[in-house]
Symmetry: C2
Subunit: 173 residues, 2 copies
DNA sequence: GTCTATACCAGGATAGAC
DNA sequence: GTCTATCCTGGTATAGAC
């Protein structure tokens, strides 16, 4: 991965996240990256390929976070860490997550498998704690994570109070 | 509003919701509506104007739902109805909501004022019930609503169990 | 690996007839 | 109110030189 390649990816991420994939032209990406437009196609085949390159980079980091939580053995602690997730994401990764969430709403690109393992491990945790509907509880946690992430990404950091009161409802404080 | 005008709006909503605003060409809208492309511009000025026409139509119905909830006097019941909201949306309105949520992620178009009144009235309800952080609680309800709506719109109807367990956490069953 | 030049097409939008 | 024809810009993508 050359320096220019990285510059292209970085610029594209910036623009895709802010204006959307379809509304961002390759010429704008090239200009922002300080690179000729042709170079983008040399390196990434086409615009779609550029998007894929961005996604692959980010997905790896994301699954990293998820695996950290999955390997926590104490059920209560695992749930607590999952709920805390959207509050811990580093601001430098905001653009990536914004792109992911925006893309969810675009035909075809929706893929939840990334988070499936996490959900399963949360269901197990709720089960171990004797909850009545462990799978639905895991789903609720995910709804909460997505909801808070959305709020944080669109309006700036979500309030810590939100985490406090949700943890309270689970008696995890 | 002529029949063709309505046909244009309907077709555009369908396509915008499925493929996104930027990825949908006016020619595709025209074809789907069985109408000449020029007619779109006669009636709606430009593509943006077509989007606005769609939004205005839907926003009215949406504020209708919100106002129904706001005017409930009993605090507990008001909260309960708000939480139930994403489970009550008629399927015929799915496309509209999908468009709204997708547009949230597009630069500039994000506008939360529609839901602001609801949030305020929820904060009052939590306050009346003696909660410690009424505003944060109202925020959490909105996070829940958005999260469930997202899940329902992207993967099909959300499970009723989700509602059941959340109502349980508020002791509203 | 990178740039310049360019092909080619599709997109939004307008004009003018009916 | 509606259609047909057309303009023009800008978007993706390729070719070829360095």
């Amino acid at each position: 991965m050359t320096e220019k390649q990285e510059k292209i990816i970085w610029s594209a991420l910036e623009l895709f996240a802010e204006f959307g994939f379809d509304a961002t032209s390759t010429s704008k990406v090239a200009k922002k990256a300080g690179v000729s437009e042709g170079l983008i196609f040399r390196h990434f085949e086409n615009k779609e390929g550029l998007l894929m390159a961005i996604m692959n980079q980010g997905i790896e980091r994301a699954t990293g976070y998820f695996n950290e939580i999955i390997k926590i053995n104490d059920p209560a602690e695992r749930i607590k860490q999952a709920l805390s997730l959207p509050f811990l994401i580093d601001e430098s990764e905001n653009r990536f997550w914004k792109l992911i969430y925006a893309l969810k709403w675009q035909r075809g690109s929706y893929d939840d498998s990334m988070a499936d393992e996490l959900k399963k491990s949360l269901a197990e945790a709720f089960n171990a704690l004797g909850y009545d509907h462990p799978y639905a509880e895991a789903e609720l946690v995910q709804v909460f994570i997505d909801g808070v992430a959305t709020e944080a990404l669109l309006k700036g950091k979500a309030s810590e109070q939100l985490l406090e009161i949700i943890l309270n409802k689970y008696r995890l404080t």
